[in-house]
Amino acid sequence: MIRLLRSWPAAIGLALTLLVIAAAAAAGWLFPRDPLGLAGRPLIWPGDNPRFPLGTDNSGRDIAAQVFHGARVSLAIGLSATAIALGIGTLVGALAGYYRGAVDLVLMRITEAFQTLPAFLLLLVLVAVFGGSITTVTVAIGVVSWPASARLTRAEFLTLREREFVASCRVLGMRDWQIMLGEILPNALPPLLVYASVVMAGAILLESALAFLGLSDPNVASWGNLIGRGRGVLRTGWYVSAIPGIAIIVTVLAVSLLGQGLNDALNPRLRRK
């Protein structure tokens, strides 16, 4: 942890992450009313009315309330989708890398199929089939985001399984699952942990794009939804789209900086170069 804070990306990342978490936590307390409910006159510019520090959108909803509640949505979707993606990816990658041969061949062809089909296109198909509720969107994002982590896990397992400490465990008579879970996985975890930040940043961006196109859950205060609605008044009220966009940037920046700091802390050798 101390090593983590010594690098500036990590320090800034941590600060921004705490900011986003604080916003998400304070949303219910600062804006107890439904953020999507009618609050006032439409298109009040930020600063014009002290009741709405960030103004209102084209249907008269409070933008500040949507931004704070949107932090909850982004974090929730980001975390759950990342957990799903890493879960699938680690399982697939571990099996492929440890057993190699036919298992590897089949699993890698499936992974390649997922990487050949554009993730966003597959996401559209999934949403078209299963609908755009927040749960299905989250699961769908997780399902389209796993291939890269599977490849990463596989590469780690492929090298680690050749290491002598794994061979020595086999000589001691340990079983496959004991070796995979107890010996290889803990050593493969650090790069995966770092990669989780990339997956999470991607998941947040995917959800916002989907919401921007109006294909995500319309009953949720998502930043992407707000940007999409602001598009209609881009010429006159560009701030409606601009403000939630900045919120997305801050969140994604926070997550990726944290990941970069984690990486620096785990690989001090690279930082020194």
Binding site: R109, E112, T116, P118, V125, F212, R235, I248, V252, L253
Partner: protein, 323 residues
């Protein structure tokens, strides 16, 4: 391994991948609530059950799923993508109309992202930990965190609305009957903003990888050998480091071909470009599943083609592949 073997291997490996995608997506779409006929009836403002059944027979939707799948694959083998009920045209025809915009957008974005990313990455690595490096790395981080559609909207506000330098959307001026070079320049003007916005995140990624890869290669033994020969630092970068450092970037371009195509869905929608991506979005909204399946097929083919090209470039850069 000769170049022909490289190509052959990639193509052979692509066949099962293509099959997995097509069968998977086809079966997935079977689970969709409502089919093309429902969409068609809804569009027409309703209709009776008898004509719906008639239409289902016409489109072959009354057969069992395996039969439909087999029919679909057999038609694909003959490059027949079926008929779009919504557009009233063969799917292939609609896709071909939409393909040029997407190819232009993704192609120009890819070139811009690779060229810019590599150049900036080299510059950052050369000025390690000094202000150009810090600035470039910061810009990279910002671009990486910015949603492309938002970047597009803001670009429209600044460059089309406020400054009025560039058109806010569309794919060439309509009704002016431009030809030849004028037409090319006109289309190029319309592509500036979409290309810049779509390439942003990819530029950030390539710049990061290139920088890291440069630093990695600079620490390798053969660079020390070159220094021991008395080769000047600039010549070491050009002759020894660049080519080696490009390899991971090339690999990444291949891996991200699909992501780029996916990104064009949103960008085409922001800039009202008549491309494949917007077609996909429209098909989802209009529940034109046949069209969606056709787009999936064509997208997969495009990505496979990109990967093939990347393999060839890699083989050209790295003699270990072919010797």
């Amino acid at each position: 391994m000769s170049l022909a073997v490289v190509v052959l291997k990639r193509l052979l490996a692509s066949l099962p991948v293509l099959a997995i995608i097509l069968v998977g997506v086809f079966l997935l779409l079977q689970a969709a609530p409502g089919d093309t006929v429902d969409a068609l009836m809804a569009q027409a403002g309703g209709g009776d059950a008898a004509s719906a059944a008639q239409l289902r027979t016409f489109y072959g939707l009354d057969a069992s799923v395996p039969v439909q799948l087999a029919r679909y694959l057999w038609r694909l083998v003959r490059l027949d993508l079926g008929f779009s009920a919504i557009y009233g045209k063969p799917v292939a025809e609609v896709i071909l109309e939409r393909l040029p915009a997407t190819l232009l957008l993704t192609g120009s974005s890819l070139c811009f992202a690779v060229a810019g990313g590599v150049a900036l990455g080299v510059l950052a690595a050369r000025r390690l930990d000094r202000w150009p490096d810090t600035l470039i790395s910061l810009l990279g981080l910002l671009f990486y965190a910015t949603p492309s559609f938002w970047l597009g909207l803001m670009a429209i506000v600044v460059f089309a609305v406020k400054l009025a330098w560039l058109p806010p959307g569309g794919f060439g001026s309509v009704g002016e009957g431009l030809t030849g070079l004028d037409r090319v320049l006109d289309v190029a003007r319309y592509l500036v903003l979409p290309t810049a916005t779509l390439s942003g995140i990819f530029l950030a990624i390539y710049l990061r990888i290139m920088r890291a890869s440069m630093l990695e290669v600079l620490g390798l033994d053969f660079v020390r050998t070159a220094r021991a020969k008395g080769v000047a630092e600039g010549a070491i970068i050009v002759r020894h480091v660049l080519r080696n450092a490009l390899l991971p970037v090339v690999t990444l371009v291949g891996l991200q071909g699909a992501t780029l195509l996916g990104g064009s869905v949103v960008i085409e929608s922001v800039f009202s470009l008549p491309g494949l991506g917007r077609l996909a979005y429209e098909s989802v909204v209009q529940r034109d599943l046949n069209m969606l399946l056709g787009i999936v097929f064509v997208s997969a083919l495009l990505v496979i083609a990109v990967n093939l090209a990347v393999d060839l470039v890699y083989a050209r850069l790295d003699p270990r592949i072919t010797t």
